[in-house]
């Protein structure tokens, strides 16, 4: 995944160069190293420690060994939340990625007013998890919301299905909300496409390539590092998503929108089970790691870096 270290012949000059290279590398990542040591590592390890304790934030943590992890196995809501989260991730990530890429491709063509469209499609992402979004979504997908209004008008019958409120559809309404926020990924794709050297396409033009071929053999490979980035980030963010579910459905009805990170939040701050919340967080870390490693491993075969 990172650059391959070539093994140079061992000479004095080469060794000095190696040392310089190492020094330069550490110098560049120094800000991050400092941050890791000063700001990140301590809270992270502390949360790992807390995961082996009973800790309600108000009293001192009490060591209870692996009890939190054992309790998790017997916790129905834990499994439910895990299932809901997997469904959320597997639907949202590909959908958002595909729509972001498709729109980005269209928005890098040469039409007038492209900048305006780009803005229009990006603006919804700025609403994030604000309080206002809860009411907007309830208004659009509630029993007498705009969505039912459209269906009623098209079908000619009165339709009053509560899309956010019913067990069968509540999660999909949140997935749709996630897709509506495709703007950020789109923006990253746009900059990725913009960075592809024009000379590549000029060469293709000489070869008489059609648009599909250009997309398949130039855009896609050249964009693959960025696609890879959006995929990895999409997975991480989707696994950690919770504010929309908290604000709109609060995990209901019947835990059908109980995303894993929301459950962690509730355990930690509503139920005073910070130790348990930490344990679940570390389980989440392991789960996301497994997926990320898988994606990273697969990237060798489809991500093309300049070399």
């Amino acid at each position: 995944m990172t650059t391959i270290v070539k093994r140079p012949p061992v000479s004095q000059a080469a060794r000095a160069r190696r040392r310089n290279t190492n020094l330069a590398g550490y110098a560049f990542i120094l800000p991050w190293l400092i941050g890791l040591i000063v700001f990140t590592s301590v809270p992270m390890f502390y949360s790992l420690y807390l995961s082996f304790t009973k800790y309600d934030a108000l009293g001192a943590p009490q060591w209870i060994g692996v009890n939190n992890y054992v309790n998790m196995v017997q916790d129905d809501t834990f499994w439910k939340a895990l299932g809901v989260t997997f469904k959320y991730v597997f639907l949202l990530v590909p959908l958002r990625l595909a729509s972001a890429l498709a729109v980005a491709l269209v928005l890098t063509t040469n039409h007038k007013g492209i900048g305006l469209y780009r803005t229009v499609y990006y603006v919804p992402s700025l609403l994030g998890g604000s309080v206002a979004i809860a009411i907007i979504w309830a208004r659009i997908f509630g029993s007498n919301g705009a969505f039912n209004g459209i269906i009623s008008a098209l079908s000619g019958t009165v339709f009053s299905f509560n899309w956010v409120g019913e067990i069968s559809t509540a999660l999909y309404s949140l997935i749709l909300l996630g897709c509506w926020h495709f703007g950020s990924s789109m923006l990253i794709f746009v900059s990725g496409i913009k960075q592809i050297p024009a000379s590549y396409y000029e060469a293709a033009l000489l070869d008489g390539a059609n648009p599909w071929q250009k997309f398949r053999y130039i855009t896609l490979p050249a964009l693959s590092p960025v696609i890879f980035f959006n995929l990895v980030q999409g997975i991480i963010n989707a696994f950690k998503a919770f504010s929309e579910a908290l604000i709109i459905t609060d995990g209901g009805p019947l835990n059908s929108t109980m995303l894993f990170a929301l459950y962690i939040y509730k355990q930690g701050f509503s139920y005073f089970k910070m130790g348990y919340a930490c344990a679940m967080s570390w389980v989440l870390l392991v789960i996301i790691s497994i997926f990320s490693i898988f994606v990273f491993k697969s990237s060798d075969s489809w991500v093309h870096y300049e070399s």
């Binding site: 991050w32 941050g35 919804p124 990725g192 967080s281 989440l284 070399s307």
Partner: protein, 289 residues
């Protein structure tokens, strides 16, 4: 793609396709914008009308007062204070996040130093823990630094690089032809020169993208300020906005919508300002270095 479109004159077929393109793009834009239009319309309605005339996008009378009332908040501090605080947080966080992330990204993406793979994996891992379980340890830590009731706990870590932006910049840097580096090497350039003279000019798109996101994220950052800031005069808008709704009594919805609408404006302006540079892309800004 760009080339084909440029090299032909406007034929009737082209004109038709152009119209079709704009019709579809506008329709899609309308669907995307409907929720926001609804919010904006509601911000101009009298509060009691927000839910009685739900379907209507046109207020019976336009109430710009909602903005004034919402702006005044609880009277002690107005949104001038809250937005001002958000701006301080966002500007410094953006500068810190963008600058340091680019440096770190170059280290990871281009310099084959010992242990880079391990450090990179560690960096990815730090992104995976949910922020909510780190709050208490972080609070205790920043308290020991004496940083409570300042913006330092929010801003300073940004100067240590943000994994998301580091990774983003890395992916863009890896798309830059390596021959450029090698050419520089022949010129006898060290790593710092390579970064400042070659990579930096070439990574404008990812820097801009990072800046757009950094500004937005720190603008709407909520959990950090909630924990580290206790004085209402230091609250950013993200916290103030949550105090409109009240489960026990009535909510000033039109005020909430008005201030939420306003809170989008600065982020939008930053985006509009930066996207100019984004559009130009590397083809015109780079490759000369």
């Amino acid at each position: 793609m760009q080339i084909t479109a440029k090299s032909h004159a406007m034929t009737p077929k082209k004109a038709f396709r152009s119209i079709r393109f704009h019709a579809l793009a506008l329709l899609f834009g309308l669907v995307m914008l409907y929720p926001l239009l609804w919010m904006f319309a509601s911000s101009l309605k009298p509060n009691e009308e927000v839910f009685t005339t739900v379907a209507s996008l046109i207020p019976s009378r336009v109430m710009w007062e909602n903005y004034k009332i919402g702006w005044e908040s609880s009277g002690r501090y107005t949104y001038a204070t809250y937005f001002g605080n958000s701006l301080i947080i966002a500007v410094f966080s953006t500068i810190g996040g963008v600058v340091s992330s680019s440096l770190v990204a170059f280290g990871f993406a281009r310099i084959p130093f010992k242990g880079s793979k391990v450090f990179f994996a560690v960096m990815m891992a730090t992104m995976l823990l949910p922020q909510q379980v780190l709050l208490i340890p972080q609070y205790i830590m920043f308290k020991s630094f004496g940083w409570i009731n300042t913006y330092l706990p929010i801003i300073v870590p940004q100067f240590c690089g943000v994994p998301f932006f580091i990774f983003l910049n890395m992916q863009f840097m890896r798309g830059v032809p390596r021959e450029l580096d090698e050419a520089a090497e022949i010129d006898g350039c060290g790593w710092f020169n390579k970064y400042f003279r070659i990579m930096l000019p070439l990574s404008v798109p990812s820097l801009i993208t990072s800046a757009v996101f950094a500004f937005y994220w720190s603008w709407q950052e909520f959990l950090g300020p909630l924990i580290y800031i206790s004085k209402p005069k230091l609250y950013p808008a993200s916290i103030a906005l949550k105090m409109f709704s009240d489960p026990a009594t009535q909510t000033n919805w039109s005020g909430l919508f008005a201030m939420t609408t306003l809170s989008i404006v600065p982020v939008l302006l930053v985006f509009l300002f930066l996207q100019k540079y984004l559009v130009e892309g590397v083809a015109t800004t780079g490759l000369k270095g």
